[in-house]
């Protein structure tokens, strides 16, 4: 029997006169790495923002781990168990790497202002647990030695890793990554690939938006291709790669040899 982690159906989203998403949905099984690809402007990030509660959809049904969830506010989505990263990194730049990850533990902890002021035993224990777990996560993504550096001083690839560590700190069921390999060089991409495989093995299912076809094809179990806000193909990477509609979307039709470039 299939073990569904995310089931999203019939999402529509309109911005003024632009139908950004029409009847988009995904079905992700636990333990998969699921790719979402498409040319620039296809609606990938819009879809991402809808399922993580940043945009309100016009319609759609949403189920996480077989429980309906309402993507009405980002913090509720995070609490339900979807953690995300951003296409253009959004860390807390003046906080240290460790503090960034500790913020991720916020949603799984519950110390109050009063507890903090009185330094109750429960608060101190929880604080120690947050610190320990955050250090573990920094170590897991391989940047433990930069724990006390301000996030903005980290190298680009390390900032990406830190963002992933921060997302993992929320104990997500589904980790949603928006172009994690963007701007990385070949070596960094290789090690990112190793990290993502580890995450899949150890904890979370991954939903991945990516432009790097090689990374997607090598890593993903299934892929959905979007173009102009519609799903044009869905299947294993190998199937999708041979799909005529996908080839046309990326390279243009046979009658338009100088069509749109692959982004």
């Amino acid at each position: 029997m299939s073990d569904t982690i995310l089931e999203v159906k019939g999402v529509n989203k309109r911005f003024g006169g632009l139908q950004a998403l029409s009847e988009v949905g995904v079905h992700i099984e636990r333990g998969q790495i699921y790719g979402l690809i498409g040319p620039n402007g296809a609606g990938k990030t819009t879809f991402f923002n809808v399922i993580t509660g940043l945009y309100t959809p016009d319609s759609g049904t949403f189920e996480l781990d077989r429980k309906p969830y309402s993507p009405s506010a980002p913090h509720k989505v995070a609490e339900a168990g979807i953690a995300r990263t951003f296409q253009n990194i959004r860390l807390f730049p003046d906080m240290t790497a460790l503090e960034n990850v500790m913020v991720g533990r916020h949603v799984r902890t519950k110390a109050t202002a009063l507890g903090a002021v009185l330094r109750t035993r429960a608060t101190l224990l929880e604080e120690a647990a947050i610190r320990k777990r955050s250090l573990e996560l920094l170590d897991y993504v391989g940047i433990a030695k930069y724990a006390d550096y301000q996030a903005r001083t980290l190298a680009y690839g390390d900032q990406r890793r830190l963002e992933i560590a921060r997302a993992l700190a929320t104990d997500p069921k589904l980790l949603a990554l928006d172009e994690p390999a963007a701007g990385m060089n070949a070596t960094e991409k290789m090690s990112l690939r190793g990290l993502l495989s580890n995450i899949r093995k150890d904890s979370a299912t991954i939903l991945l938006i990516e432009h790097d076809v090689k990374l997607v094809m090598g890593l993903c179990d299934r892929v959905t291709v979007l173009d102009y806000g519609k799903i044009i193909a869905e299947g294993t990477p190998a199937d999708v790669q041979r799909n005529a509609a996908v080839i046309e979307a990326y390279l243009g039709g046979a009658h338009k040899p100088a069509g749109k470039e692959a982004a």
Partner: protein, 377 residues
């Protein structure tokens, strides 16, 4: 401790000794200042009061990054809470109150401080709720308006029912009384006598220390991190599961609480309150204290508050005599010179110490400088 003595981070004994030394200095300070006259002790007491105010505003502006130009309104709310509950004003104007309190209205400080705090916190939420979605300049303008609304209300709530006595203010406010010790009178402690201002200095010093401890603990907590996260990037903070609305409201409420408590103390200390003590200029001065000292950094905020509250006293005592000596007459009023110097100080701060006189220490050096190919975001 290491927050104030970062260089003694690895020497807890030395840091402890340094703290003790500071403690002793703070305890004997009023006697040194008192040598030059009680006005200086009074200035020190006000400095402690301003430190409390500045630390409260620092929660809103420094920690949570919400620019608040109407902060003094909470100070006013606290001050009027105490003024109304511990002065003959309400009894003189409302027969029902007079009948209810035949001995006069003298509410205990133990009741007034929590009430002042709670009412100010309530006003903090009232201000916070409608401005949740605003940021930067827009937030500043709305909070500025809020501060003025409170002041104008205090100015005009004297008719048809006289609640605040309008611009004349409320007089004959009870001094603080704690377990029978009346802070309004000189106390004999055996080898010397302590005038009222000394007592208030020690009271404010104590409250200031409590405020500092609370602020440090809040800063290092789950809530403190959430505040900083929304200051740095509120969309990322939301995506990390922080309920931005609640956390912002909590910042407004807690910041207002400190303002309210300082207000009650101000009221008791002065024995008189009027709306003109709570003008926009006061809000700006408190904001200037935290910006000058180091936004979001507790030791910096304390430094800024002390400097900007003592400085006008220094001017007041030096400007006129110096001018008389030099020119034989007074060319420039101390008040005028004060504003001029504030402006100059701000310009120099912006140019040479944009993060304040005592900013938070930078963590780490740039690891992008290590061998390999760093890329910038």
């Amino acid at each position: 401790m290491t927050l104030f003595f970062p260089s003694l981070r690895d020497k807890p004994a030395a840091a402890f000794a340094a703290m003790c030394a500071v403690g002793v200095v703070l305890l004997v300070l009023p006697f040194a200042a008192g040598y030059f006259g009680n006005a200086w002790v009074r200035a020190l007491a006000f400095a402690a009061l301003y430190v409390m105010l500045a630390l409260g505003l620092n929660i809103v502006v420094g920690f949570a990054g919400l620019l608040d130009l109407g902060y003094i309104a909470f100070y006013a709310v606290g001050a009027y809470t105490y003024a109304l509950l511990a002065s003959p004003h309400l009894i003189g104007n409302f027969e029902a109150v007079a009948a209810a309190f035949p001995q006069g209205l003298h509410t205990s400080i133990w009741l007034v401080i929590p009430m002042g705090a709670a009412i100010a916190a309530f006003f903090g939420v009232i201000l916070g709720a409608p401005v949740l979605k605003l940021r930067g300049d827009y937030l500043a303008i709305v909070t500025l308006g809020f501060g003025e609304i409170i002041r104008i209300f205090l100015n005009n709530l004297n008719a048809p029912l006289n609640f605040t006595n309008g611009p004349q203010g409320i007089t004959l406010i009870d001094p603080v009384t704690i377990v029978g010790l009346n802070f309004g009178r000189t106390v004999d402690i055996g080898f010397t006598t302590l005038p009222s201002v000394y007592l208030y200095y020690y009271l404010f010093l104590f409250l200031m220390l409590v405020t500092i401890v609370i602020c440090i603990r809040l800063q290092d907590s789950r809530l403190g991190r959430a505040w900083m996260a929304i200051r740095e990037d509120d969309i990322a903070a939301k995506a990390m599961g922080i309920n931005v609305r609640n956390v912002k409201l909590l910042a407004f409420a807690l910041g207002a609480t400190f303002g309210g408590v300082s207000g009650t103390m101000f009221s008791a200390f002065q024995g008189f309150v009027s709306p003109e003590s709570f003008s926009l200029m006061e809000s700006i001065i408190v904001l200037a204290m935290i910006v000058l000292g180091g936004l979001g950094h507790i030791p910096g905020v304390i430094l800024g508050a002390v400097l900007l509250s003592i400085f006008p006293e220094l001017l007041r005592h030096t400007v006129v005599p110096i001018q008389e000596q030099l020119f034989g007459k007074v060319l420039m009023d101390a008040e005028v010179l004060r504003m001029l110097l504030y402006g100059l100080a701000m310009v120099f701060i912006m140019l040479y110490r944009p993060k304040g006189l005592w900013p938070a220490p930078e963590h780490g050096v740039n690891p992008a400088a290590r061998p390999g190919k760093p890329q910038t975001a």
